[in-house]
Symmetry: C2
Subunit: 359 residues, 2 copies
C-alpha cells in the first residue's frame, strides 16, 4: 500500500477551553483526556499495520511560540517527526497544506499526506485506520479524500459535506455546506447523505499542488517560496517570514475543497469529537455513577452530569446539575453545559478589560 505521512496541524489556542487553555497553553498541548495531550494522542493514533496501513513519521506544523513545547511533547511520546515546520505566523489551513506539499516536493517524498488537526479526539482509532486505508485507494486515483463524520444529532457548530455518487469505498463530494442553523441541520440529519466536516484530508501531494496552483495560486506560490527559503536546523524548518507573510489566509475547505472537482468523502463512524468546548469534552470523558467527570483536588457531593476539573485549589461542588466547574491557579469558570459556547463572551470581556494576562 502507498505509504501515508500524517501532517499534524498544531495551530490555534482553543479559547473555548478557557481557563485551562491559554494563548501560551493551547488546547492540543493539554492532557484533557488522561495523562497524554491531544497532540500526543494524535501523533500515536495511527500505527503501521493497522488496516494494512504503512504510516511514516509525521510532518508537524506549528507556530514559533509553541515549537519547543510541541517538540518536547513529541519526544516524550516517542515520536521523531520527519520535520517540524515552523510558521512565523498563523495563515490558516490552506497555507499549512501548501507548506506540506512544498516540503514533500522538495524532499522527493513519495508518500500520501494525511492532513489532520492535532486537537481532536477519536475514540475508535481502528475505524479511523480502516477509513484511511480505504482512502489510500481513492488518493492513489488522484482524488482528495475527506473523512466525513457520521452525524448523530443536528449539530450547528460544524460544516457539513453532502455526498454524491459512489466512488470506490467512498463518494464524490456533491457540495460542502457552511455551519447550518438548527432547522437546516435537522433537515440534513433527516435527509441522510450528510457528514460533518472534520477537517481531515488525504491526498497525493502532486494532486494537491496542482489544485492549489489552479484555485489558490497566491497561497501556493508564497508558501513554496517560504519553504524553499526556510532556515533548517536538524529536522526543524523555519519557514521564511517575508515570503510566508505574502500568503493569503484561508481554510483549505474554501481555498480548494469547495472548488476542486477531485473531492471525495469517506463517511466514518469513529467516535470523533473536536473537543471544541467544555460540554464537548464532557461528552467523551468517563463518568462516575452520578454521571459526573471529576479530576484534580475536589469534593463532588449530590451532583449530576457535572464536570469538575481543578489544576489549582481544592474545589467543592454541591447539589448542582449540568454544570462544568473549571479551576486553575489564576481563574475559575462555572458554566452551564448547554451554554458552553458562551465562554467566548468571557474571553471577549477579558479582551476588553484589565485582565488580558488571563487569556
Amino acid at each position: 500500500m502507498t505509504p501515508v505521512r500524517p501532517v499534524i496541524m498544531c495551530g490555534g489556542s482553543g479559547t473555548r477551553l478557557w481557563p485551562l487553555s491559554r494563548k501560551s497553553r493551547p488546547k492540543h498541548l493539554l492532557p484533557l483526556l488522561g495523562g497524554r495531550s491531544l497532540l500526543q494522542d494524535t501523533a500515536t493514533r495511527l500505527k503501521s499495520g493497522m488496516a494494512g496501513l504503512d504510516i511514516l513519521p509525521p510532518l508537524v506544523i506549528t507556530g514559533a511560540a509553541q515549537a519547543d513545547a510541541v517538540a518536547d511533547q513529541l519526544m516524550e511520546a516517542g515520536i521523531n517527526p520527519a520535520a517540524l515546520l515552523i510558521e512565523p505566523e498563523g495563515r490558516n489551513t490552506a497555507a499549512v497544506a501548501a507548506a506540506a506539499v512544498a516540503w514533500s516536493e522538495m524532499e522527493g517524498d513519495n508518500a500520501l499526506l494525511l492532513l489532520l488537526p492535532s486537537d481532536h479526539h477519536i475514540a475508535r482509532p481502528d475505524a479511523f485506520a480502516e477509513a484511511v486505508a480505504h482512502g489510500v485507494a481513492l488518493a492513489d486515483a488522484s482524488l482528495i479524500v475527506t473523512f466525513g463524520v457520521v452525524p448523530d444529532r443536528p449539530h450547528t457548530g460544524y460544516g457539513y459535506i453532502r455526498r454524491g455518487k459512489a466512488q470506490g469505498a467512498g463518494f464524490a463530494v456533491e457540495r460542502f455546506v457552511e455551519k447550518p442553523d438548527a432547522e437546516t441541520a435537522s433537515a440534513y440529519l433527516a435527509e441522510g447523505g450528510y457528514s460533518w466536516n472534520a477537517g481531515i484530508f488525504l491526498f497525493d501531494p502532486a494532486v494537491m499542488a496542482a489544485e492549489l496552483g489552479t484555485h489558490a495560486p497566491g497561497i501556493a506560490d508564497a508558501v513554496r517560496s517560504a519553504v524553499v527559503a526556510a532556515r533548517r536546523e536538524g529536522n526543524r524548518v523555519d519557514l521564511d517570514p517575508v515570503s510566508f507573510s505574502n500568503a493569503p489566509s484561508a481554510p483549505i475547505d474554501k481555498a480548494v475543497m469547495e472548488k476542486t472537482a477531485k473531492a471525495a468523502v469517506i463517511p466514518v463512524d469513529m467516535g470523533w469529537s473536536d473537543v471544541g468546548s467544555w460540554s464537548s469534552l464532557f461528552e467523551v470523558l468517563g463518568k462516575d455513577e452520578g454521571g459526573n467527570a471529576v479530576s484534580g483536588p475536589s469534593r463532588v457531593i449530590d451532583c449530576r452530569s457535572t464536570q469538575v476539573r481543578s489544576t489549582g485549589p481544592m474545589t467543592a461542588v454541591v447539589g448542582v446539575e449540568g454544570v462544568s466547574v473549571i479551576v486553575t491557579d489564576d481563574a475559575v469558570l462555572v458554566i452551564a453545559n448547554e451554554c458552553s459556547e458562551d465562554v467566548r463572551k468571557v474571553i471577549d470581556g477579558l479582551n476588553e478589560g484589565e485582565a488580558k494576562d488571563l487569556l
Copy 2:
C-alpha cells in the same frame, strides 16, 4: 432610662460559610455585607438616643485565638469596649452570660446587659432599638427578655418561642421549642404566636445571676471564679483557665431560659438574619437586575439568582441559576442555593481527609 450595656459574643467559626470562613477567620470578622465586618456592624448598630436608649460601651467576649483580631476591628470601628473578656476555650452561651454577670457584679456596673451574637445582620436597626427600649421596662421589672423574630416562612433551622399572655410591650414566654421539622414549622406559622429565637437577651445582671444560681449553679460558680481570678491588663480580662474549665458547656436557652419563670418575649420585625449559610447571606445582599449578587474580580453572564464572591482569582460564571460560587485563594465552592446547609458535608470530608489546613 436604665442604661444598657451590649455584651457581644464573638465565638464560633461559622463553618457554614466555608471556604471564606475558617477556624482562623471566623464569620463575624468577615466583611460579608460591605466594607465592615459583622462584628463591626453589631458593635455600632445601637447608639444612645435611638428610641431614647442609653447605650454604654460594650463588653466583648471572645476566645484567645481571636482576641487580637477582635480588638483591632473594634478599634478600627471607633469602639472602645468596657472590657474584652477572653475565654481560654469555648463553653457555649450560658458561660458567656455568667461571665458578663460576674464582671458586672465585680465592677459594680448598674447597667442592664444586652447579650447578643456578633455575627447576625439586622436590616432595620431602628426597629431593633425600639424593641430594646420596650425591653428595658420589662428587664427593669426583673424579667429576662428575649427578642423574638417574626417568622416569614416555616424555617426549620431555628428554635421557636411560643408567646403566652401579654406582659407590658411583650409577652410571657409559654415555651421554647427546638428546631422543628417542616410540618411542625408550617403549623407554627399558620397558628401564629411563635417567634424565631434569635439568641438576643436583655436582663438585669442580678436577676440573671440569681437564675443561673438556681438553674445552673455549676456554670455560675466556675465562671465567677474564673472572672475573679482573671489576669487583667488594660481592658483585657483573661479568664482563669483552670476555673473556667470546670464550667459545664450549655446554651443559655437550655441552662436558664427553658427553666426560668421570668422569661419574656418581645416579637420584632427587624430584618434579622443569622447569616448562617450562603443562601441566607444571599437573601440579604443587594442584587443586580438579574437577581445576582456579585463581588470581587468576576464576569457574570446570563445568570439568575446567583451569588458570586471571589477574594481570589478571576471568576467567570455563565448561564447558571440559583447557585453560589465562592472563591478564595486556596479553595472554591460551587453550591446550589437550596443545598447551602450541605456545606457541612464538605467540611466533614475535609476533616476526614488530607486537606485539614483548609478548615
